[in-house]
């Protein structure tokens, strides 16, 4: 396939994403994580049908990195709010800690498994374990929203799980800054690991403040796009040039704006609808770029990481049931209800894959794909069971149209009039 044909295909996917995210009547169409597009990309890629050859896909790598970093910005701008409701600080911290708990658990399991069963070096093992932990820590808010909207869930537990899911993205975003700072080749060799990680966040925070200042008191949407695009693209480019995590930089930028800008709600309305149009092409390109042969330890990695994730999710469920009265009835199942990962994890995996090309990056992309698929199969089902047990879903009562309790319907930003 030629580059132009691929570009047209990606634009068509983006168009489809716009329709899916803007049309309320078909918003529930498709899987919450967009895993089917990942699979489509894999089938079209050089591993199966060969429609998208490796060199053509490689030319679109910058698109992948920019798309992934943009998802970081979207996550940052929307952080701390579920629909119109603000997530309490305590709950946000709990969400981050619980996500980190699962991630650290997976990382530890991978590290020890590879110590026993592989000859990779200590540093590689550390990077691999860290990356595996990062892509196994998030809970996608889309899965929670999907279940809540489909089944009309309402109650303390559904609210709490939506809050935890929303907060959980901070764990992989921050850990990614540390992972990149620990990479062997460095753009800032004079700085320590901690300072490099802080620089990743610092660039984002500074650009977030610049964007907030420039947006000023009066919000003009047309001009705001220029400022938002300019600052985020500059942040991505500078971070990538220095070997830092562009996704973390844009996440920090979005978070800064969401905290200090008086136009937080307007910004969210602007950027949230762009998520789906970005996710679909990124998912297809990611799927097409998967190189199973370049990832020799994928079977071991997937087996250990996903197994560990299941175990630590159960442990998370137990912790939740201990800490929250509303979660007691479901017990360990609470954790399995939060196993679904989504576009953000794929974006993280893509970022890792681009920064660490070769076996490490390739393995992590495959692991993330596996994690998304497993989460897709298990997460919504388990979440439904959990919420039913908690009395947040009354069996047999599916509601249409979906309530706007979790995320407001995006505006029609693409309307030409």
């Amino acid at each position: 396939m030629t580059e132009i044909a691929l570009l047209l295909g990606l634009l068509a996917l983006s168009y489809m994403g716009s329709i899916l995210s803007s049309d309320r009547t078909i918003r529930g169409f498709g899987l919450p994580s967009g895993a089917e597009y990942l699979l489509l990309g894999f089938l079209l890629g050089h591993e199966v049908l060969g429609v998208l050859d490796r060199s053509t896909v490689a030319k679109f790598e910058p698109v992948l990195v920019v798309g992934a970093a943009w998802l970081g910005l979207v996550a940052g701008v929307g952080y701390g709010h579920v629909g119109p409701r603000r997530v309490r600080v305590g709950r946000a911290l709990a969400g981050i800690v619980l996500a980190a708990f699962v991630g650290v658990g997976v990382a530890a399991a991978v590290f020890f498994a590879f110590t026993l069963a592989s000859d990779v070096t200590f540093h590689e093992r550390l990077l691999l374990a860290g990356a595996a932990g990062i892509v196994c820590s998030e809970t996608t808010r889309h899965a929670v929203r999907w279940v809540v909207e489909r089944h009309g869930a309402k109650g303390a537990l559904s609210d709490a799980l939506a809050d935890f899911a929303r907060a959980s993205v901070a764990a992989p975003a921050l850990a990614l800054a540390v992972l990149f700072a620990a990479a062997p080749d460095q753009g800032l060799p004079g700085l320590t690991l901690e300072l490099r990680a802080l620089a990743t966040l610092g660039i984002g925070i500074v650009l977030g403040l610049v964007a907030t200042l420039l947006l000023g008191r009066e919000f003009r949407r047309d001009e705001s796009w220029g400022i938002l695009l300019g600052t985020s693209l500059l942040g991505m480019g500078v971070a990538a040039r220095l070997g830092l995590s562009a996704l973390t930089t844009t996440f920090a930028m979005g978070l800064t704006m969401s905290l200090v800008s008086p136009h937080r709600a307007d910004l969210k309305v602007m950027v949230t609808p762009t998520e789906k149009p970005v996710v679909l092409p990124v998912a297809v390109l990611t799927g097409a770029s998967v190189d199973v042969q370049a990832a020799p330890f994928v079977p071991l990695l997937i087996g250990v990481a996903l197994g560990a994730r299941l175990l630590f999710e159960l442990a998370r469920g137990v912790l939740l049931s201990i800490g929250m009265r509303a979660a007691r009835r479901a017990g360990a199942l609470n954790g399995l209800g939060m196993i679904a990962t989504g576009p953000f994890t794929m974006a993280v995996a893509v970022t890792i894959g681009m920064r660490f090309p070769g076996p490490l990056g390739g393995s992590i992309v495959v692991l993330a794909a596996g994690s998304v698929v497993m989460g897709e199969l298990m997460g919504p089902l388990m979440l439904r069971r959990v919420l039913t047990r908690a009395g947040n879903i009354i069996p047999g009562s599916s509601q249409t149209p979906p309530p706007p309790s979790v995320d407001p319907g995006p505006p029609d930003y693409g309307r030409a009039t």
Binding site: I4, L7, L8, L11, S14, Y15, S18, I19, S22, E61, P62, V65, V66, D185, Q186, G187, L188, P189, I203, V206, L207, V210, L213, L214, G216, R220, D222, E223, W225, G226, I227, L229, G230, T231, S232, L233, L234, G235, M236, G237, V238, A240, R241, L242, G243, A246, P277, M354, R355, D412, G414, R415, A416, T417
Partner: protein, 456 residues
């Protein structure tokens, strides 16, 4: 364009903008001087971000001294480009050409959509005379000027009279090329309304078509003079096919776009992206001129449907970002060392071009009995040259590789001077003609004259 005309900003706003400009400059400067480039795949992304922000901020900061926004965008590119602070490399600037493709498609679409039949009819007489006289006088006089200056031009010193004659004809053709992008950029920024604005836009867009036709004719006429070969109408035949194909394709595209806007109307920005990136490449592949096709499409949407305003609004939305980067990258492209080495000749040619343009404008205004505003300032929009003229120069340089490099260098230097001076002159003219309103807050939907507004 950024910065819709509105109430002037206070000192605090300007300080904030200057601070923000300093921060982004320091950030990219620090990154580019850190010594290590771990991943340069996103260097073009950083450059786009810088051009977008720095261009917007510089244009706002230059506003109080009366300079147009385009100058700010160009200045951001010049300062950040490889010849001054070297915040990004030559290769990065070359990679930005994708943005240019999109920008040119948008400019052509908007240009076509701005040409309402009613408006064109009102200025038909003025524009027709101006087109004829600017082209005829421009070609004749600029050929003579080039011939006269040829002893000072390094690559023409060795040429005998006939090749020199052919070359001067080609230079003259290049000299009558204008800049639709600069014209539209200034009009979008100033929200200018009135006879001069309407005349300028109609002239520049029509002149675009004339130059598209003129270039192959000039190439055909110059080829036997320069190379000594036989006279061949192959190029003319080719251009005839190209023009018919472009108009046909543009008409079809215009009807499809009008139908889309009427029946769907949503997510049009993605459609514009597809047109700019994908369709442009396809049209080039089948030897159809994308500029003429998009111009025709815009014209069809505006005049054969009721969707013209929607199209203009969508282009303006996307253009507010794309045009800043387009002019910024044009600034980054400016070869300052080259300009420094051949500036006397380039300047002489530019001054001659301005003089010819002003003279021809006076003659055509007298013949067409134009309104005093057009008589006095009608030439001002015709000075700018940018991407379109560069494309013409490139085509000529490719056709005659024996002096291609020298011709290209001189053309780039001259276009650079016109690119810098042209927008300033045009904005000055609009201000003096009283057609700009700095306090108008609402976006200018189109150049359609208000009902009852007399021409001129």
């Amino acid at each position: 364009m950024s910065g819709a005309a509105r109430a002037p900003k206070g000192v605090v706003s300007r300080l904030v903008q200057a601070l923000a400009l300093g921060v982004i400059f320091v950030l990219l400067y620090g990154a580019s001087r850190s010594g290590a480039t771990i991943d340069d795949r996103l260097s073009a992304v950083a450059a786009v971000g810088f051009l977008l922000l720095a261009g917007t901020l510089l244009s706002e900061l230059l506003e109080p001294v009366g300079l147009p926004h385009l100058t700010g965008y160009l200045l951001a590119g010049i300062l950040g480009g490889p010849h001054v602070f070297h915040l990004f490399e030559h290769e990065t600037v070359a990679r930005l050409s994708d943005v240019n493709t999109l920008a040119l498609a948008l400019i052509a679409l908007a240009g076509g959509a701005e040409l309402r039949i009613e408006t064109v009819r009102r200025v038909m007489r003025s524009v027709s005379w101006a087109l004829f006289l600017q082209t005829a006088i421009g070609v004749v006089v600029m050929s003579g000027v080039f011939l006269a200056l040829s002893p000072l031009i390094p690559f023409t010193r060795e040429l005998s009279i006939w090749p020199l004659f052919g070359l001067s004809l080609l230079w003259a053709t290049l000299a009558v090329a204008r800049s639709p992008s600069a014209c539209m950029g200034i009009l979008a920024q100033t929200r200018a309304r009135g006879g001069l604005a309407t005349f300028s836009l109609a002239f520049v867009m029509a002149s675009d078509v004339v130059v598209v036709l003129l270039v192959p004719l000039a190439l055909t006429a110059a080829a036997p003079l320069v190379t000594g070969g036989d006279f061949s109408l192959a190029d003319v035949h080719e251009v005839g096919r190209e023009i018919v194909g472009s108009v046909a394709m543009g008409t079809t595209l215009g009807l499809v776009l009008a139908a889309y806007l009427k029946l769907v109307g949503r997510h049009f920005l993605l459609v514009l992206l597809a047109l700019g990136f994908v369709l442009t490449d396809f049209l080039k592949y089948v030897h159809i001129d994308p500029t003429l096709s998009f111009l025709t499409a815009g014209f069809v949407v505006q005049n054969l449907s009721a969707q013209g305003e929607k199209l203009l609004h969508a282009v303006e939305q996307m253009g507010s970002v794309v045009f800043v980067v387009f002019f910024g990258s044009a600034g980054a492209h400016l070869d300052i060392p080259l300009l420094r080495s051949i500036w006397p000749v380039a300047l002489a040619l530019c001054v001659a071009r301005v003089a010819v343009t002003v003279g021809a404008a006076r003659v055509s205004s007298a013949v067409a009995k134009d309104d005093p505003k057009i008589r006095r300032w009608g030439w001002a929009a015709l000075i700018s040259q940018a991407g379109f003229a560069l494309g013409v120069a490139e085509k000529i340089a490719e056709k005659f590789p024996q002096f291609g490099e020298g011709f290209r260098a001189l053309a780039i230097a001259s276009i650079a001077l016109n690119e810098i001076a042209g927008p300033v002159l045009f904005k000055l003219a609009l201000d003096r003609a009283g057609e700009t309103d700095p306090h108008e807050a609402a976006p200018r939907p189109s150049l359609a004259p208000e009902p009852g507004t007399p021409h001129g």
